[in-house]
Symmetry: D2
Amino acid sequence: MSDLADLTAKYREFSKERDWEKFHDPRSLILALVGEVGELAELFQWEDPEVNESEISRTALQQRASEEVADVFLYLIRLADVLQIDLLQAANLKLTRAEERFPISRFSGIAPSKLA
Amino acid sequence: MSDLADLTAKYREFSKERDWEKFHDPRSLILALVGEVGELAELFQWEDPEVNESEISRTALQQRASEEVADVFLYLIRLADVLQIDLLQAANLKLTRAEERFPISRFSGIAPSKLA
Amino acid sequence: MSDLADLTAKYREFSKERDWEKFHDPRSLILALVGEVGELAELFQWEDPEVNESEISRTALQQRASEEVADVFLYLIRLADVLQIDLLQAANLKLTRAEERFPISRFSGIAPSKLA
Amino acid sequence: MSDLADLTAKYREFSKERDWEKFHDPRSLILALVGEVGELAELFQWEDPEVNESEISRTALQQRASEEVADVFLYLIRLADVLQIDLLQAANLKLTRAEERFPISRFSGIAPSKLA
């Protein structure tokens, strides 16, 4: 129904209509993003739910996780828009570079300390 | 060139080829995401660069920010994939709900404590 | 009334009495810490309150900030205890090293990209 | 050798001597704190090291964790100082309240969604 460009435009319009663009400087958006990442972390903080949760509570967790992941995503989209970053292009570039930096033959089953 | 579904599939394939899927449980991916959010925050930690940086250093900052934003995005994509969350749909839903919760007439120029 | 060693011991006892030590592995505590850092960030996300808040709301903010800072501190204390890290000693060492790395003559008024 | 009040004073002096106090507003310090939390998260992102690391690499991890925990602690101390928060008192208050909110009889072995 929608792609990333549509969503970016929708959020931009949402901000403009409410005169909220003035709040959306990079530092404010990063702090807001951190707030949402915190809520996401909280959902998973005490245990790996896949291990010992029942089917019902797993569904509830998945629903809540979906909301928090969406919140993080929205602030990331807005931040990228404000910074004039093409999210898809930037991420594609990074992933392509990761393919080169971590050849299959050498990194099979071995996690590097970090992806990028 | 690519949309979000392609990028999600590309990252999934990247993980499968390297036998890295075993590392990509939700908690591990959230910790990795936090690591990248930390690098993003660090870029903007001491001042609002838009205020007093020269044109040249702003370009350098924009380039570095692009890389960190991309890293956060990639882990978020992977996390959503592992949790079977449709990122675009979930974010669209959240934004639509925010439009209802924050009517233009009442919230013009007034930032709520949080978007969602 | 209390020093850091007392507080560390009090939290350890609190955890033991409730049989919560099993939840306090490093990864879980870091995720919990991230949750509290998120709440702290949220308090300051939209503007610098010192600029345009009234005296009353500044007091309210200071009170809420005090609670969130305390939550972050508590998880940090617990994490250090679990990892057998002497917080005061480790921080003193880092600060002493920073004094050497950033001589006053060269860094006066100039923020390094990071402290440590 | 040193207690928390000494460390707070030492960091305050360190900042004053370098004319860095102007950088230490709450938002900047929170962003810096997030940067250090990110480095801490990164150390533990891929697996629980206690499970399958050798003794040697556990020592290395413990050393690196000690440095990152110290960095988080230092920014937290500085933030508390700037916000005129008594860290020990605030944390003691929170822990005392947690003792009341989570009676041993009812919460033994059961992690609440969050401590505070």
